[in-house]
Symmetry: C2
Subunit: 332 residues, 2 copies
């Protein structure tokens, strides 16, 4: 009888301990790659107050919308936008189908490997390269092309896949927000069709939460496929970002993250929401990543920095705030 009692007591305690295990909150640091300081605290405090139902700044779950620029905010963008590296490689890949490119600029220079000449031809040349490689293709074939490139292309400085160059501290911010019932979106000037094949794997952001610049597409009723055409239909940059968010999401975000003047309107619009959080990633680390801002052609950050400082937005200093930049630093 006594043994039986012990058995039941044991079973009961076991069942209680199983329950209490579930109830113990594990208080881990949600942002382990961030050094302690005002910027890390600002992120933590924002999330705490938005999710504290007793706080005046509490935000209902359905309105916990956070938007992120991609190039320079979630992954690197130097020495050129990764999408441009893709477009240049595509020119080489598609050249056999386009003999006329051997005689036409800027394609001729691309095929000759003369990037200096391409750059001299200015923005118009870049647009021609993007349109030629992102249009005149079915949606399915374009997606396949992006996936194939992502799997084999390597970044010239790091000799690693481009997809290795995502920012570990920002991955932690994404995870932390989602763990607190935020919905995370990408709002990028980059092409929507270039990002969507990889955002779920890279950032945990599904295709339907990615917006970006768009090419004209049409539905071919006969073949029941989507075709892409070499014509820009929407530029998701500067004042286009609030427009894109209004059209895609239909809600004003309560948190916005960017790194350039192209993100300023998105951050400013977000800032009109009470208790919102705005953050710039400032590229200050030429050792581990790159250092650039007001004088850079890529990711120029000048007016945005002035506004951020005036209004007290968070400006993450990559060199000071980030313990590691890339996930591979943790593994190597």
């Amino acid at each position: 009888m006594k043994n039986l009692l012990v058995v039941f007591l044991g079973l009961y305690l076991l069942s209680c301990s199983a329950k209490s295990d579930q109830m113990v909150e594990v208080k881990q640091d949600p942002l382990p790659s961030w050094n302690e300081g005002v910027n890390k605290s600002a992120i933590l405090n924002f999330v705490k107050s938005a999710t504290d139902s007793s706080s005046e700044s509490f935000v209902e779950i359905k309105n916990r919308i956070a938007v992120f620029d991609n190039d320079g905010t979630l992954w690197s963008e130097q020495p050129m936008y990764f999408q441009l590296a893709f477009a240049l490689d595509q020119i080489k890949k598609l050249a056999p189908e386009h003999p006329e490119w051997n005689e036409t600029e800027p394609f001729k220079s691309v095929l000759a490997g003369d990037m200096a000449s391409v750059m001299k031809q200015g923005e118009g040349a870049i647009i021609k390269i993007v349109l030629a490689t992102h249009g005149d293709v079915t949606a399915d074939d374009f997606e396949t092309g992006v996936k194939e490139w992502m799997a084999v292309a390597r970044h010239p400085r790091f000799d690693r896949p481009y997809t290795d160059l995502v920012f570990q501290p920002m991955l932690e911010v994404l995870e932390y927000l989602r763990a607190n019932d935020f919905k995370t979106f990408i709002v990028s000037g980059g092409g929507i069709g270039f990002m969507r094949p990889v955002t779920n794997e890279l950032y945990g952001i599904p295709a339907e939460q990615v917006m970006g610049s768009m090419m004209k597409v049409e539905y071919d009723k006969e073949n029941k496929i989507i075709n892409r055409y070499p014509e820009l239909s929407f530029i998701d940059d500067k004042a286009g970002k609030p427009v894109g968010i209004y059209n895609f999401i239909g809600k004003k975000p309560i948190a916005a993250f960017g790194n350039s003047d192209g993100d300023l309107q998105m951050l400013e619009w977000t800032s009109t929401n009470p208790n919102s959080f705005m953050m710039y990633v400032h590229h200050t680390d030429e050792e581990r990543e790159w250092a650039y801002d007001s004088l850079s052609h890529i990711g120029k950050l000048k007016e945005g920095l002035t506004v951020a400082n005036e209004l007290g937005w968070t400006v993450a200093d990559m060199k000071k705030d980030w313990k590691v930049v890339y996930p591979f630093e943790l593994k190597d």
Copy 2:
């Protein structure tokens, strides 16, 4: 000692029973407003096979995308699109700010309550009414206007709020899909800004999962607001629906629900996904709702019905398949 044993035994059994309660699957009918038959079975079988990991037709959660037309598929659309009823009421509300409308058609006829004359003026008149009431307004004021109208306007036939006229059997389909990890989207020819203020409450579909036809919008940097302009920027109907889905979601759905020829391309595109499910709601019930198809100006269903029958898509017969049409029938 014996009493103690009984106490522990009781506690243990209690804890077991609490656990086993959680583990007992409650096998309730997920579609109680659907009569038994081939159509109900088709829905159930599709969901079972898409979610059965041992099945060849298993679909990963991230690809469980279901798209729904709104007018005539999730709520009624007779005797006119509810959005048109809203636009007509807005003309009356906004008239004091527009004295010129007293002398200009089609506004003059609307203000005189002469709908016969408005209808005689054709589609161009309707478009003028929609543009005048959906453009030239800030996004915030437009949203407020929609919410105010939804709260007070009443449907002429039922003398109930328009929001009462959602289809109970379709609410059950939405719930059932979501319970099986589908993400549900609205893809409507109706205006995106007209639907978003109410879809979460009506259907459990958040604003960011609603797409529809769009007006031109711009971001006003000075005032940090979104303004709407009287110009259509995207028509989310017919071949526009696959285009809208590609741009907004970036994935081809595996389930699509519509009620008119305007939904045909969306259903056809979806049907190119293996093991996909396509359904038309056929309006066959003039007693409880309305009966119309190939001869109707609103929600015309002719070519779609032919294709559906040829390809064996599900055609829900409102009269035969639905035990109730509207949720209020359950309460009254």
